[in-house]
């Protein structure tokens, strides 16, 4: 360890800071959680898997249930009927909308809220207050500071609106799969959801509201993140790492996929 470097180790976190150049030279973090499903599902009736695997998570559990259904369809050589596949797809679509909405605007949003920025980057906060938002005609917030203020947890206008919208997407999910996030109507080879006109209409009216909200959310995100990239040089390096993404194969097209 040289005099210009400081190392700090914690379980799962490693940082190397170059104080002379005022730079984070290296930063690594890792987290792993042993879930254990592969162990305690052993010897259980495989048909129970969708009901149990969803309990892995309180936010994304239904993806695991869907995976369990796909896995069994392949193992048993069975397929979900076409309409059932669309019900699963609409449920998953609602889940993705829910996840992105909650994550981006309620969980990540806190990092960009007035309470946080004022304390951690007072200079950025005063700059935000005096920067006009380029897309204000689309989202209604005049300055970046107004957006940052609206992201304050529980009191900010946009934070509360986002919370309402994530609730709406959970309702959409419940229409298709009964319970969010532990689906009650998913089975290997089909769904228990009774497909009626009213079911899809109820989904569509909520989707329309969500699409309307997105017309505001996307230009708002553009304004917010573009501002931070400009206000904090090097900020675009945050989170840079080896990209490792896996797609678990959601949204099967029943005309193309027979689960073999």
């Amino acid at each position: 360890m040289g005099s210009h470097h400081a190392h700090r180790r914690k379980p799962g976190v490693f940082t190397k800071i170059d104080f002379a150049n005022r730079q984070v030279a290296e930063y690594y973090s890792t987290s792993s959680v042993f879930r254990g499903y592969s162990v305690f599902m052993q010897g259980k009736d495989p048909r129970d898997a969708p009901f149990i695997t969803s309990r892995i998570c309180g936010i994304c559990g239904d993806n695991h249930a869907t995976c369990a259904v796909y896995g069994q369809n392949m193992a048993f050589g069975i397929a979900t009927p076409e309409l059932g596949d669309w019900i699963i797809n609409l449920g998953e679509a609602a889940e993705y909308m829910f996840d992105h909405n909650l994550f981006q605007d309620n969980l990540v949003g806190v990092d960009y809220c007035e309470q946080m920025v004022k304390q951690t980057n007072p200079g950025v906060w005063s700059k935000a207050e005096n920067t006009l938002a380029p897309n204000s005609n689309a989202h209604g917030y005049r300055t970046i500071g107004d957006i940052v203020w609206a992201l304050n947890p529980f009191t900010g206008e946009y934070y509360r609106e986002a919370l309402q919208m994530s609730r709406l997407t959970r309702e959409m999910f419940c229409l298709m799969e009964g319970r969010h996030v532990h689906p009650s109507t998913l089975y290997a080879g089909g769904t228990g959801t009774v497909p009626r006109m009213q079911l899809f209409t109820d989904y569509l009216v909520r989707l329309t509201k969500y699409a309307e909200y997105m017309k505001k959310a996307v230009p708002l995100h553009d304004d917010l993140f573009n501002f931070f990239y400009e206000a904090l040089p090097g900020y675009e390096q945050v989170g840079r790492r080896r990209v490792l993404m896996g797609c678990w194969g959601s949204w099967n097209d029943p005309m193309k996929c027979d689960c073999t």
């Binding site: 259980k44 009736d45 048909r47 129970d48 009901f51 149990i52 059932g84 609730r167 959970r170 309702e171 999910f173 419940c174 229409l175 799969e177 009964g178 319970r179 969010h180 532990h182 689906p183 009650s184 109507t185 089975y187 089909g190 769904t191 228990g192 959801t193 009774v194 109820d202």
Partner: protein, 134 residues
């Protein structure tokens, strides 16, 4: 037990049970007891309140009750997708009674669905209202 009422007591499919009319495949709107619903013996109000804002739920929207509010869940109630022990006897017992009731109700329902004689065309207005008292 926090909730005294059972899933079955609040279930909008319980009428099918009473008439001995059971689902034999998932996706049916009828009572799910024979394909793995624990509802009759589980304490939970999900069938009354839905999952959120009255939407979704379990047996009333096509999902078998897996007894997730009960002590001993999940092991005590596995395998979920088989008829729960005891249900064979009670659901079987209601079969004969339910069939008779269903037949009788079909007769009355048919009568109830007929237009009454006093609703007719022409200038004369008649009524079926015949008070017996006052």
């Amino acid at each position: 037990m926090a909730i005294r009422k059972t899933v079955h007591e609040g279930c909008d499919r319980a009428g099918y049970y009473e008439q001995g009319d059971f689902a034999h495949e998932y996706g049916s709107p009828k009572c799910l007891v024979k394909i793995g619903c624990w509802g009759p013996v589980v304490n939970c109000n999900v069938t009354k309140r839905g999952w959120m804002r009255g939407i979704g739920g379990c047996p009333n929207v096509g999902g078998i009750c897996i007894a997730c509010t009960m002590p001993g869940f999940p092991d005590k109630f596995m395998p979920f997708m088989d008829e729960p022990p005891g249900a064979h006897l009670s659901a079987g017992g209601i079969g004969g009674y339910g069939k008779v009731i269903r037949t009788l109700r079909a007769v009355t329902n048919n009568t109830a669905n007929k237009e009454p004689k006093w609703r007719h065309t022409g200038r004369q207005l008649s009524t079926g209202y015949q008070p017996k008292t006052y």
